[in-house]
Amino acid sequence: MISHEKITHLKQLEAESVHILREVAAEFSNPVMMYSIGKDSSVMLHLAMKAFAPGKAPFPLLHVDTKWKFHEMIEFRDQRAKKLGFDLIVHSNPRGLEMDISPFVHGSKVHTDIMKTEALKQALDAGGYDAVIGGARRDEEKSRAKERIFSFRDRNHRWDPKNQRPELWNIYNTRINRGESVRVFPLSNWTELDIWQYIYLEKIPIPSLYFAKERPVVEYEGTLISVDDDRVPEELRKKAVMKKVRFRTLGCYPLTGAIESEAETLPQIIREMLLSRSSEREGRLIDKDQEGAMEKKKVEGYF
């Protein structure tokens, strides 16, 4: 008789996510994995590598590049995809590039609509993907708490929160008609703490932006933002100061709030997270646009 091994919560979450990723590979003909370079994406990449070892994951990575990401994120992206042997597809909205969309000029809503939501739809239409794997977690935001793991999208990539397919046990309905798609969230049941603990235990590489360091920052719309390049308006750049900061989430640098921190190691980050009293999305300016903001964005096709 084999002695019974205790399955910890992280092992169980890992096994569930691997199950979900394999289900996608088995049931869809043209899946893709969204890669946003952040910690959740790093965990997803790691899980995808595990799920198909010793082979390679049978889907490419897709990054929607708004052209306003931290420059370090882009370097990290290219290096990770290469190291793990993933095909990487990068898409930016040509219409947005032509209009020279800038969060500083056009504001976060216009920037997000055009460079993220619209760009994502373009990339998905161009690729004709039938399954799109994303790293969203249910603990991030209230509307996400009710989203399915396999979440149906119509031809226009829209989500209908009031008419979701029942999802029972670990049996996932993967049926769709041509042109429709499913968003798949393998990290649905992970919390922020689970993600950090897993990164720590599995030694998963993440961008150094998560760790505290002296960086040039400036206050912009009530939040500290990084002066990542010289597209930051001159009058702001003049006010920039060096502060020891880090980022709890990674996105477009003008829209990502830095927090002052001393956390230089993973345990210190986890300690800070546990002791802090604000949730991680607070650092993202886009959620505050309007009440129920995320639900509206998701209905329109945002991840």
């Binding site: 289900e23 198909f52 390679k56 029972l168």
Partner: protein
């Protein structure tokens, strides 16, 4: 987060992480309506375990002023009621999943609506839960909805039920009220298959017996809800011993490797075990096992001697046997029945009624077959538990049916194995998930009718005898009839 925990994090984070690495996971379902204080209870658990952050609390405070129902206090329920339309209507429509954690366990709460028209949502939430928390308003006692919720919990195979008798503050924490409801519930439970029952007097609004023990219930010497959840042993129910491995994906990265990926549904397996592939019946031995969890960036081929449920593994075999997605690998000495004729319980989940004789897709574990409901044996009235004869199934109906598949599958009963005894029904035109099913019995041979034993009609005296034994001799584990 309690102060003690805060100190331990502040003091030695590495020690804290070591403790939290060894947590296990427990999923529970909360049943009850808004009126019973269900959202308040969940809000309280999240709030007192400090899973709620300041900005979320601020948002709830501003919404309390807009939609709240608690006057001056923050409406904790607003912390958990998710979708905008729900906040406006003040009801919880869909299943929502919530998370919190203690140093013993990570918890996933399936928060489901209580009204009868949302029965399918509750069934959905119950399908993955190990434990159910059933809320009862102490002023009202056992209601029709309590009967309904208890039936669904029992149907979905949840063996542990915590009966939270709430709003005790409105009745001065009267022990007699609690005792009366406890007895009434025990009586009700004799009609169902709920092995373990626990009762807690509570005030979710004030926090009595939710996280800590209340000073207002000196007559109650049991644990608080959180203490109970932290200490429950659910391993017996979680791990049936029969090895079942539904093949999910065939991994063939190069000519020298052909692995069969899947999640071990139950039991355990080791290298060298004699295995049989179903439904083909071909046998071979396990050559190697790779647990996805052991793989790292540097080492992508890590072999282990054995593995157990619920690990996600890749198995290679000694011989070149034809194995594909949808097959089930089992131990040769422990093979389930194979048949295309099943007796099942079905929960209908679609606005369009179920039609007898129509082709549906039946997805069980990783296999999909075409199936027809050949006959509805009876529908269960989930409020009275009476059986009714019906011609078709409407939204939220629960019924015993005969299911015929276009090809045989290896199947266990849901009672024996939740993972291999469950399936979903997919409409082939709309692609919607229109039903959920649980296998009750499997015909011995393809041509056979499903055994009729469970169809036996019992007399009232026999039913009473059964209820008596189940009530007073729970250690006999007597089956409900």
């Amino acid at each position: 987060m309690r102060d003690r925990e805060r100190e331990s994090i502040d003091g030695d984070i590495e020690q804290y992480l070591r403790v939290h690495e060894h947590k296990d996971m427990l999923r529970f379902l909360t049943c009850g309506s808004v009126d019973d204080g269900k959202s308040t209870l969940i809000g309280r658990l999240l709030y007192d375990s400090k899973t709620i952050f300041e900005d979320q609390l601020e948002a709830a405070e501003s919404e309390s002023r807009k939609y709240g129902t608690t006057g001056e206090k923050i409406d904790l329920a607003l912390l958990v009621d998710g979708l905008q339309s729900e906040r406006e209507q003040g009801i919880t429509i869909d299943v929502a999943y919530r998370f919190f954690s203690t140093d013993k366990r990570k918890y996933i709460i399936a928060d489901t609506p209580g009204h009868e028209q949302y029965t399918r949502n509750m069934v959905t939430g119950a399908s993955t839960a190990d434990v159910a928390v059933i809320l009862i308003d102490a002023r009202k006692g056992i209601l029709t909805q309590t009967r309904r919720h208890s039936y669904i919990v029992s149907l979905l195979g949840i063996k542990h039920v915590i009966v939270a008798i709430n709003k005790m503050d409105l009745l001065d924490f009267d022990e007699e009220v609690f005792e009366k409801i406890r007895q009434d519930y025990e009586e009700l439970a004799t009609q169902l298959e709920i092995l373990h029952r626990y009762f807690i007097p509570m005030s979710a609004l004030d926090g009595d017996n939710v996280v800590g023990r209340s000073g207002r219930t000196p007559w109650y010497d049991g644990p608080s809800l959180l203490e109970l959840l932290d200490s429950m042993d659910i391993s017996a129910e979680q791990t049936p011993k029969n090895f079942r491995f539904p093949v999910q994906y065939v991994n063939r990265p190069h000519l020298n490797f052909r692995g069969f990926c899947g999640t071990i549904a139950s039991g355990s397996v080791k290298v060298g075990d004699e295995i049989t592939v179903l439904p083909s019946g071909r046998s071979t031995r396990v050559k190697s096992i790779i647990d996805a969890g052991d793989i790292s960036e540097e080492r992508r081929e890590v072999y282990r001697d054995n593995a157990q449920a619920p690990m996600a593994v890749t198995i290679t075999t000694e011989d070149e046997v034809d194995i594909s997605r949808g097959d089930m690998i089992v131990h040769t000495h422990n093979v389930p029945r194979i048949s295309n004729r099943l007796k099942v319980m079905i929960v209908w989940m679609d606005e369009t009624p179920m039609q007898i004789g129509r082709d549906y897709d039946i997805k069980r574990a990783t296999s999909v077959a075409t199936g027809q409901i050949e006959h509805i044996n009876y529908k269960v009235n989930i409020n009275s538990y009476e059986r009714e004869i019906v011609e078709r199934l409407e939204l939220n109906d629960i019924a015993s049916c005969r299911l015929v598949l276009n090809r045989p599958i290896a199947a266990d009963s849901y009672r024996q194995n939740r993972a291999t005894g469950s399936f979903i029904i997919i409409d082939r035109i709309s692609n919607n998930t229109v039903g959920a099913g649980m296998i009750v019995d499997v015909a011995r041979r393809e041509q056979d009718k499903v055994p009729a034993a469970e169809e036996r009609e019992y007399s009232d005296a026999e039913r009473e005898l059964n209820a008596y034994i189940r009530k007073f001799y729970p250690e006999w584990h007597c089956k409900a009839i």
